[in-house]
Symmetry: D2
Subunit: 364 residues, 4 copies
């Protein structure tokens, strides 16, 4: 006799006793496992988050309207509008662990400096003219660049032009909030260095293939490279496809080139909680269907195609964003050459031993 | 002018536009950062979980009543009653990441086998007679023992006597549920080995100081020692205090001995998400006040004393449990010799670079 | 035409020019590769060291005579007689990297304190009564014990009885000498603590299965356990054979139990350069033939049997020592239950990526 | 009474007994420690290797003469002439662990393919026109480039021009020979890919700042970057000095820029046994005096200056090589802007816990 059958057989007196027991549990701040096993311990991951696509055009238009109506400054700190996963009750959480927002800075505006435990990055799908200043080092933001602000680094942004600029921010805000890890400190109202160099000091010291300054041999939990420039990402992807053409092993699967942004001091992920990658599919190519533990957010950088999430196909164009909750099957199909930026919480699952991936044998 | 002042100055028309903007955000599954910065990004960790003490006597009595009313078996799986932190809305979460329950097994009862991604352990404050069977290896449970069931190991329990037994379970259920990492698989209805040896095969192979079988040299994410016996824990603590008496460095601080349970294949924590320790204070001794990132659960094993949580003093006796949310100041004061078991989510914060500790200079 | 043929074809004039070239090389402290490739870069490792067996009876008798004739004290430092591999030109090198000596201490004698970069251990095949004092901690030496003195720890020995005692020392002296890594410092003439406790402070703090003092959480390059006692080694081996009897995986191969001594803070080897293991074969059991990169030294602890080295069989009895140079095939065959201690330089090859092992499929 | 005094006091009979004892030691392949402690265990490292400078002009002229007289081909394998440290008895060992040779390849010559356990690199001080083919990947060699051939990769060289080319090879031949780690296998007589691309496939896949191909996420003991190009090394050094000019921390010490070549998959050294670095001193700058455990070889790449080794000053010009044995004090002084390549065995000492460095406080 299993447990539910047994409970079904109970007499009215037993039912009353049970009701009293449950009331006493609640009274004593206790809660039984046996009534919630199915919800708490699922057969496979069953995220409350849902797959969803946000269209860049709509996102940008709302950001632009915010630019007119909402000042940027101390208190609100940033004019950032977060993706709110429809399954997560309205909170600005793209997935249970990840924050993704469009940030908008008008001409000559400044977002004041602060620092926090949360790790952050920016990815630029279009525009330029803003410098993000990380620990006093001004870092130019341009289309295709991936820019880091690891936890507890002071940072602010300033627009050095008369034109607005928008980009996406990725942070581990939901995770840090959930786990109660957050510290925050206000900094300067203005950025501490308002110059606008084309290359940051961080890059001048660190952004070389395989070279490390002797003045920087100590261990780093996050990458010291403040900006991963489009020039290199693009070239790396192009070369992978050319090598594939030459019959060399280089791509992830046929027609699918990809790079991971890494911390040159470890070879591992750029920051302890977030993984970032860039994927390029040849026109007509498809990825195999994958299921992965942990969640991710993708943004189309260029081209057009389709993502299939849980069997549902969605059309994608430049700037569009979509989220893949844990264990949701996904595959991508390129109509044109198709470039996508991706970030995920994979380092958390990997460091804690929960990572699993299932890859379907055949491309559909 | 900061952001909130600026918003205060708005005209009715601006207010209407802003209202429309927020409605459009909601419509498009977006949420602005600037209205929620303070909640999401706190100056120091501000957990919704609260410090709380559960009295063992009450807990045990409720468990005993469950033993009469609720069968144990397939479906509910375990007669386990979880601590529900008063700040976490009634869910059986001791802290945002940790589950802690009293589990109760009547004479000759069996809890069926299953396995799950969630890591689990048992700690025994009183009683004996139950064997937990981990991957087919029967492990005796006795007062003072700390017993492991790392993720994805089949396990069940059976009571080999006519007397009930109760113990506490610790798991990372809330964390795995939150992060969507959970897999679950049902196993045998009965435990797969019903024998009742005094020492498990795991201990016979692994539980020696500094010795490792040549047949077990591969890497392990969790400790292969299924049971950490009281005999060794007690002796280690006693020797630390004796060494302190002899003027040798051995204790954490004056009168405060402590050991960490570790994975002998790495020297690190027993499981990837949970740390477990045992602390002994001499009668009259006090710990310095500490604040730590991450949360923990304590159980009094023996003796009596007091815990001060956020400045509020609580009396503690054998079996009593209390939780310390992230960054809540705590200190412990021993009336008699005072033995406490502790587990926490510290490995998560450490592996992800969020760990911080603040220790007050002086004992109060 | 290959190089040697080509050189064979040369005219007298060319030969003279070549001779002049070689003379000019020598004059300029240069040396050509092409004349020495075969010696320097062998097809498989071809050690100058040779397999060899030393008989304990002879070794002990010579040590005893030294006890009468040679004082122990400052300058010579130790009454230790090193195994001199017949292939290594008379130096006291058991293998190119490893030192192994019999050390002999008469009744009430003291070997003065010193410290050095070289890592050292003692293994006791018979006798007792000596305490080795490591950084002020007196460690009793008894049959079957394995005792550590990692690099740069002060240490001396004193005999607390009127009977002599002998044991073997293992060190990385040849390696440290070769690589020019050695530092040495004289310490106290007498041992700094002349007490004779049965258990050392190091063991009282560290020698528990899977427990680590909270006062000792920092990283350690060498094991903090000063003594690995025979009681545990013996029990671990006995249990492996019993588990094998019960049909459980526990032994290295049929009838062959083995443990590795490890650093509880890492799960790795006890010291950075040396690996130590203990092997037990059932009467009649045989190991498969192995070839390993790197060298090792074995000592028979109990029982009798045979070792086959490069196809040559040698009879072994209690206390006998033998060396296995790099890549020399070896196998062991037990006549009685057969206990052997082993140490090697395997950590060097492993950390530097040179490790390879070839195991013959079938037992002969 | 210490040991030597005691031996001095012996009677003729005792002396005879002692002589007999020593003879019996030798007869039994034994050797006492007490007669050799001082040599084997020195107070500080006392290498038989000596500091020495080789002049590039002389080296090159001898290599050129070899080009006329000695064919390159199977058997001798390479036209490489090794630095023979004057303290190491004529063997082609630059230091006890390191090999450094000038290799010379005439117009259109080929050095046949082979592979070996030994790790190798090339550094090019002048010339171009040779491709080294590593596992089938042709890698162009040009002035300033640092090129890798980690252990067990097939490799050969071919000169695609009618002009000779010379460069230096660095290997761990002496170490591998000493420790008996060497395996060797002959490959193709001709290089397996005779094309002459300006960029290797390895670089196209791997040589980007902070980017890693998703097809190459597995662990690597050695760097997958076959060529570290001068363009990046030069730029990194130039930027360090510019950053210093701007008041930013970037250099090792005033006027002294330096980079380490690293494995992008770990952030560590390019190969398990050898470290490689490039140093640039401003005209007039000096390094502080350093003593390091382990040995190194330096080559002047450009400019002129002075090295002080054990207090003896030596003038240096382009291409000159010098060796620094373990613990020998060294400092460098630049007359012009002064560029130097350096390689060492530092990873061995570091991985085995023997590393120590002493840096004099003040520049002379």
């Amino acid at each position: 006799m299993n447990q539910s059958e047994s409970l079904a057989d109970q007499t009215p007196e037993e039912a009353a006793q049970l009701e009293q027991l449950y009331a006493d549990f609640a009274q004593n701040n206790l809660s039984p496992l046996w009534t919630q096993t199915n919800d708490l311990m699922t057969i496979t991951p069953a995220s409350p988050a849902v797959p969803h696509v946000w269209k860049w055009k709509e996102l940008y238009e709302l950001a632009r309207r915010s630019g007119d109506l909402v000042p940027v400054g101390r208190g609100g700190e940033r004019r950032a509008i977060g993706l709110a996963n429809p399954g997560l009750g309205g909170a600005a959480f793209a997935t249970p662990t990840l924050w993704c927002a469009i940030q908008y800075l008008g001409g000559f505006e400044t977002a004041p400096e602060h620092r926090h435990s949360q790790n952050a990055f920016r990815f630029v799908v279009e525009g330029e003219g803003v410098w993000t200043v990380v620990n006093g080092d001004p870092v130019a933001m341009r289309r295709g660049d991936f820019l880091l602000t690891p936890g507890w680094n002071f940072h602010g942004h300033h627009n050095d032009t008369d034109q607005p600029m928008a980009w996406i921010d990725g942070l581990d805000i939901p995770f840090v909030s959930y786990a109660d890890y957050g510290f925050f400190e206000f900094g300067s109202e203005r950025v501490t260095d308002e110059s606008s160099p084309s290359v940051s000091r961080s890059e001048r010291l660190w952004a070389y293939p395989g070279l490390r300054p002797l003045s920087g041999l100590q261990a780093r939990t996050s990458s010291p490279i403040a900006a991963y420039r489009w020039e290199y990402t693009d070239r790396a992807l192009r070369e992978q496809l050319l090598l594939e053409d030459e019959g060399q092993p280089a791509t992830v699967e046929q027609g699918h080139a990809a790079v991971r942004y890494t911390n040159p001091t470890t070879g591992g992920d750029v920051m302890p909680t977030m993984r970032a990658e860039f994927h390029r599919l040849r026109a007509g190519a498809s990825t195999r269907q994958r299921q992965e533990v942990g969640s991710s957010v993708w943004q189309v950088f260029d081209g057009s195609g389709v993502v299939v999430l849980n069997g549902v196909e969605k059309k994608l164009e430049r700037g569009d964003l979509f989220v893949v909750p844990s264990w949701v099957p996904w595959s991508i199909h390129a109509e044109t050459e198709f470039d996508l930026f991706r970030f995920s919480d994979a380092p958390i699952a990997e460091k804690l031993g929960f990572d699993r991936t299932f890859i379907q044998e055949e491309v559909r």
